[in-house]
């Protein structure tokens, strides 16, 4: 990999790529939590900010009765 003087380009592209990847992967814990009756949106934000913690938590949380409008 040859970056040369293109530091801003490198920083920008790697940063955007990482953020987008994180945004996509964050759907995993949030979907898992949703299936256990949790609010998808709140869990998505939690997963985006603290992905590893959210992922582990999503595996260990217990199932709750579904919120209104949320399918189990």
């Amino acid at each position: 990999m040859q970056i040369g003087g293109n530091l801003i380009t490198a920083f920008g592209l790697f940063g955007v790529c990482g953020l987008m990847l994180l945004a996509l992967l964050a759907t995993w814990p949030s979907t898992k939590a949703y299936q256990k009756g949790r609010n998808f949106r709140k869990w998505y934000i939690f997963s985006f900010l603290l992905f590893p913690v959210a992922l582990i938590a999503s595996f260990f949380i217990s199932s709750e009765p579904a919120e209104s409008g949320v399918k189990k």
């Binding site: 003087g5 293109n6 920008g12 790529c17 945004a23 996509l24 979907t31």
Partner: protein, 896 residues
């Protein structure tokens, strides 16, 4: 269907837009019939065939302009004028100035190339849309609506509505569409429904006498009937005053051409288009200014932003939708289902409740006369003979029972009665009194008698006596109970029972009317059997399995409905009667309608009310009918289904016509509708998500790359290749699991799909930027971008080619990813045309950078080391897309 908001104004005398048409109709209304016929150069026997042919040539076909297909020039313009070709044209102009006019090298290659693309894309669109339109027109020809006209030399003949000319003498009977604007010259209890013109659903009576009264509104004219309306009951003979665009309906249609009622399907397409338009409005200035400021070349920045806008525009959406619908319609026609309005196909696939009448759909439609009994249940030929006279002489709509009576009478040799009796008058059938009468005179004795037949209850209400062995006895309470018991018993065996009564020497003053139907003598009853179809039970079961609840809406009584429905395996514990419905408010009806599947003794208005109640509870409701009594409910339904043998008004109201009245045929059509809808939604979702992803990629590239990631012309070529591969989508198939459920249009699902799946491709677009910018291009050019001695032109052209190819691969492969929730290629494979075209697209796109064409549009061939990276990226892309797909399905329980 036309918007009728302006209709009132077109029907008023003082309206300035169609004064000639209005004046002509007022004048014809005032004239005596004979004078008018004389003026129009026609006798009561009609025009000669030769004269009719001459008039057809002078006045043209009886067709309204908006129904005529677009001219060749208009279709060509439509194919060539769209955002894609406009931007290509602008690029060609810029290229002409920069490469030819103001350049020393005078290289016209780019101009020729861009013009070829305009030509190719336009022709592709033109050919595809012409083929689709042709297929749709051919389908329309399968369904004929005709009228009975008098043609002097040929007598009474049936001709297509389009061939009617001014001066034609037409015969109108119940259920007929009024074929043009006509002036009645003879009429008998003629009631016309003019709701298409006036919005008033109650039929109005029309008479043939000349009118001297002043009317302010055309539709109030008592002796004029208008194109677009239909006869509810009665009969008439009329002369045609004007046809086609010169009719009142034609002038309305002409003035508001193009304003269509927006269906849920149109709404959905519009919503998607608007979401993308908003993206474009946001994207174009952002991309333009970022590139302008960072790269300094404002013309190139403008062209790039413009090309990105074109890339996001789903310019193939209309073509893909039209082709999908036309292809679906042709496939349905092969299954004996003709789609009259292509847009209705989506509703057909979305239908989750099918309301149907009983006769002919669930039963065999072969009504056989089983018994002709007197009031004491003994066979009696007199009952049959009177029924024969009634059926033979009535001129209204002959129903299946009339046909059965006539067929049975043939075996009994009653033909001689036709000579012995002459018809004096007739009181036509209507759905409220549910009986009809004819008045006949015996030529030998001169005796006049009124013969009435109809539904038992309604007949008993006008009878005062009963006849047994030639003697009249009062219709006692005891006899009434006996009659009711007998009828109930026959009904519970699935037989339809009608009563026959007569009255000797009815008062002969003036014309006969409903008021004369009283004090009659009950002669007996006729019992008919119309057994259920062998296929009905399995067809209903199959429709239920496909997510469609079948509801039977019949005018017959409860006992027959229960018996027939039980025989075809329907739940018959709960039956709702028309009288119950009248006492219910809307909320109660909505609740009851959701639970109950059998409805009996319904009037046309009650049928329409049930359909309305079901629709208001978020169901997509289909109504299948073939009679006048079904027209109101058909107009209320999301999708109106009829049969080729139906009365004109039912055929006219229908969106879909079955060439065979069978629920099995309908079930097959529904599956085709779902496939078509699936393919449309597939294209929309993949285009929307792909474009949404591209938006991120382009903004990222504009912000962080020191040059344009792709040249404007390269974006357009990429877009063109992708569009070509999408043209095979209408030929793709859907997974069996998808077509098992009714599919409703849900614009919100497109938005969320776009947000979930779109960024997947962006991740790999940006990954491609990284790999091209920091690994492949530096390796091929001898150093990083901007370093001394590095060929920047080669660097950029390689970069452009690398993203061009990756973008094409990911965009094309996403078609296979999105078309199914299963694992593509392994668990679910696309149809051969789609596989072929996507493979060809990828191959051609990958080879382009190595060709002179590629070089002409500013690309260079990538080194071999690019391809392992490409394959790795594509595999990762497919893995990530599959992951997202699984998450999406878990979240929303559906993909498409």
């Amino acid at each position: 269907m036309m918007v009728m908001s302006k209709k009132e104004s077109y029907l008023r005398v003082d309206d300035g837009d169609s004064p000639m048409i209005a004046e002509k109709l007022f004048e014809a209304s005032r004239q005596e019939a004979e004078a008018l016929l004389h003026e129009m150069g026609v006798s009561r026997h009609g025009l000669s065939s030769l004269e009719a042919a001459n008039r057809l040539e002078s006045f043209g076909m009886n067709i309204i302009s908006h129904e005529k297909p677009d001219s060749l020039l208009k279709r060509l313009l439509k194919a060539f004028v769209n955002p894609f070709t406009v931007v290509l044209f602008i690029l060609a102009l810029v290229s002409l100035f920069t490469d030819v006019i103001f350049s020393n090298e005078k290289n016209p290659r780019s101009v020729i190339l861009i013009c070829s693309m305009v030509l190719l894309s336009g022709m592709l669109r033109f050919v595809q849309e012409s083929r689709s339109n042709k297929a749709a027109e051919k389908l329309k020809e399968l369904v004929h609506t005709t009228a009975m006209v008098e043609r002097g030399d040929e007598g009474t003949i049936e001709i297509p509505l389009g061939n009617i000319v001014p001066g034609d003498i037409v015969n109108i009977s119940a259920g007929d569409l009024i074929p043009a604007d006509i002036r009645l010259v003879e009429s008998k209890d003629l009631f016309i429904n003019q709701s298409t013109l006036t919005g008033e659903s109650e039929p109005v009576e029309k008479f043939h006498a000349a009118s001297s009264q002043h009317y302010s509104t055309l539709t109030d004219l008592p002796n004029i009937a208008f194109m677009g309306s239909y006869a509810v009951s009665g009969t008439a003979v009329a002369v045609v005053l004007s046809t086609g665009d010169m009719t009142c309906f034609g002038s309305m249609a002409r003035a508001i051409t193009g304003k269509h009622v927006v269906t849920s399907f149109d709404k959905g397409i519009n919503e998607v288009s608007w979401v993308l338009v908003r993206f474009i409005i946001f994207m174009v200035p952002v991309v333009f200014f970022i590139n302008g400021f960072t790269k300094g070349n404002w013309l190139e920045a403008f062209l790039f932003a413009l090309s990105v806008a074109v890339g996001i525009t789903p310019e193939m959406l209309p073509m893909i939708v039209t082709t999908n619908l036309a292809k679906g319609a042709v496939a349905m026609a092969r299954k004996k289902t003709v789609v009259k309005h292509l847009d209705a196909m989506q509703n057909f696939g979305a239908m989750d409740i099918l309301c149907t009448d009983k006769t002919g759909t669930i039963t065999q439609n072969r009504v056989v006369l089983e018994y002709h009994w007197n009031v004491y249940m003994e066979d009696d030929k007199r009952v049959l003979r009177h029924a024969f006279l009634n059926s033979h002489f009535q001129t209204g709509l002959k129903n299946l029972m009339d046909v059965a009576i006539l067929a049975h009478s043939e075996e009994e040799g009653f033909e001689a009665l036709m000579q012995k009796f002459v018809k004096v008058d007739e009181i036509p059938f209507d759905f409220n009194r549910r009986r009809m009468s004819v008045v006949v005179r015996d030529n030998t004795t001169g005796k006049t008698q009124m013969i009435t037949k109809g539904a038992v209850e309604e007949m008993l209400s006008v009878c005062s006596f009963a006849e047994y062995e030639g003697q009249h006895e009062p219709l006692s309470e005891e006899l009434m109970i006996k009659i009711h018991d007998t009828v109930d018993k026959m009904n519970s065996q699935g037989m339809r029972v009608i009563a026959v009564a007569q009255k000797d020497d009815p008062p002969a003053t003036g014309e006969f009317s409903v008021k004369d139907e009283n004090g009659m003598v009950l002669m007996g009853y006729l019992a008919f059997l119309d057994p259920p179809k062998d296929t009905a039970a399995s067809a209903i079961k199959s429709l239920n399995e496909d997510g469609i609840v079948v509801k039977v809406l019949t005018g017959d009584n409860e006992a027959i409905a229960r018996c027939i429905c039980r025989q075809v395996g329907m739940e018959t514990d709960k039956i709702l009667l028309g009288s119950d419905i009248d006492s219910m408010d809307e909320a109660t009806l909505q609740q009851q309608a959701a639970e109950i599947n059998i409805y009996a003794k319904l009037t046309p208005q009650q049928k329409a009310r049930i359909v309305r109640a079901l629709r208001s509870t978020d169901h997509t409701v289909g109504f299948m009918g073939d009679g006048i009594n079904d027209a109101a409910a058909m107009r209320e339904a999301d999708v109106a289904i009829s049969v080729d043998s139906a009365v004109d008004i039912a055929k006219e109201s229908a969106d879909i016509i079955l060439l065979e009245k069978d629920l099995k045929v309908l079930g097959e059509g529904v599956i085709e509708g779902r496939k078509t809808f699936g393919n449309i939604i597939k294209y929309i979702k993949m285009t929307a998500s792909s474009n949404f992803g591209n938006m991120f990629s382009v903004v990222t590239a504009s912000a962080f790359l020191p040059f344009l990631p792709m040249l404007p012309i390269q974006i357009l070529v990429l877009n063109f290749i992708y569009d070509i591969s999408c043209t095979a989508i209408p030929w793709d198939h859907m997974d069996p699991e998808y077509i098992k459920k009714p599919r409703k249009w849900d614009a919100s699902s497109i938005g969320r799909f776009m947000v979930w799946i779109g960024p997947t491709s962006s991740v790999f677009d940006v990954t491609t930027y990284i790999i091209m910018f920091f690994i492949i291009c530096p390796a091929a050019c001898g150093g990083p971008f901007g370093a001394p001695g590095v060929n920047q032109v080669l660097f950029i052209s390689l970069f452009n080619a690398g993203w061009f190819v990756e973008s094409l691969w990911s965009q094309t492969l996403v078609i296979h990813m999105i078309r199914t929730p299963k694992i593509p290629f392994l668990q679910s494979r696309a149809a051969a045309p789609l596989l072929f075209l996507t493979t060809v697209s990828i191959t051609v796109g990958t080879l382009i950078p190595y060709t002179s064409f590629g070089k002409a549009i500013g690309m260079s061939g990538m080194p071999a080391m690019y391809f392992p990276w490409l394959i790795g990226m594509i595999l990762c892309y497919m893995a990530l897309a599959t992951f997202l797909k699984i998450m999406y399905i878990r979240r929303y329980s559906e993909l498409l």
